[in-house]
């Protein structure tokens, strides 16, 4: 019996709705009916198994999108980066080398992280979040929520690159220091240090801004936003 695999949004994939599910059927589970691991799915993708690839997309596309969004603070760019990366993985699945012993998600986080870093370098250091509304506001947000999020992401983007990455991976992706270190290609100690420095830098930035606003006698104050 084929089981439908729920996607991240909690909705079932309906063959009628997509019209493509026949081409990308849900990945069949192994005989023991356990869910295949990402690594197994990646290996099957390398053999041309479209169902396995579709399962990887359903499992991870939104997670990687969220990471890219927080990195770039731009919805369209985040979507494009994840789409391009996943498409490249379909075209060249052999680039993932299981023999290296890395987890598939760790490897793919590296790819997304590098793509985001390149995108940020290409377009310039920091997006002027408050000037042109570059951060897309969705229907799901109230204007206040979107504004506060912009504020947080703006502070994060002002951090040095490696500190920015460490905070995103450890704080938002819920990775341990060693997992983040594997993605960043550094040591666990180094990540610990980067996170500690990032926190100090953020506190300093927010206190400075808070002080400036106090002197000016008002305005938007990031440190107040809780």
């Amino acid at each position: 019996m084929r089981r439908k695999t729920p996607n991240n949004s909690g909705k079932e994939n309906s063959p009628d709705e997509t019209g493509r599910v026949a081409y990308f059927p849900s990945a069949k589970n192994s005989p023991s009916d356990r869910k295949p691991t990402d690594e197994e799915l990646a290996a099957r993708t390398a053999e041309g198994d479209r169902a396995a690839y579709a399962e990887i997309v359903r499992r991870h596309a939104r997670k990687f999108y969220a990471f890219a969004f927080r990195y770039l603070a731009n919805q369209q760019e985040a979507e494009d980066i994840v789409q391009t990366a996943l498409l490249k993985f379909w075209q060249r699945p052999h680039l993932w080398d299981a023999s290296r012993g890395a987890r598939f998600s760790t490897w793919f986080y590296q790819i997304i992280l590098n793509a985001c870093r390149d995108a940020l370098r290409t377009r310039g250091k920091i997006v002027p979040l408050f000037e042109d509304g570059t951060v897309a506001e969705s229907d799901h947000d109230t204007p206040e929520e979107a504004l506060i999020r912009k504020d947080v992401l703006h502070y994060l983007q002002r951090l040095p690159e490696r500190q920015h990455q460490a905070v995103l991976l450890c704080f938002y992706e819920g990775m341990t220091h060693s997992e983040a270190a594997a993605v960043m290609g550094t040591t666990q100690k180094s990540v610990e240090l980067l996170v500690r420095r990032a926190k100090s830098a953020l506190k300093e930035m927010m206190e400075e801004d808070s002080e400036k606003h106090r002197r000016k006698g008002g305005g938007h104050d990031g440190s107040q936003a809780e």
Partner: protein, 98 residues
């Protein structure tokens, strides 16, 4: 500012606006249109390079042996190290360069 306050501030970016509704479908549709590229053949280059490097070292060592550069000098200086031998030659009174 306390860690707790900073964490609360950062938590406000935990939720992100969802991507387009057909996000995953778009990716799968794009993948439908492209073919997988065949796996590249295993690269033999590094192994060949290693063999070549090893062979080069061996040939160089053999060349040195044959040229007698590592043999004991007959001049009586008793300097066995070939580098030192060259230095000694340079300072030789008869026929030395200095």
């Amino acid at each position: 500012m306390t860690d707790h306050r900073l964490n609360n501030f950062l938590k406000q970016a935990a939720d992100v606006p969802p991507p387009a509704e057909d996000f995953e479908r778009r990716i799968l549709a794009a993948a439908e249109k492209v073919q997988q590229e065949p796996a590249a053949p295993l690269r033999e280059f590094p192994r060949l390079t290693a063999w070549r490097a090893a062979a080069s070292v061996l040939l160089f060592a053999a060349g040195l042996m044959l040229s007698g550069a590592i043999e004991k000098p007959e001049s009586g200086y008793g300097i066995q190290d070939s580098g030192m031998e060259i230095v000694a030659y340079l300072f030789e009174e008869d026929g030395g360069m200095l």
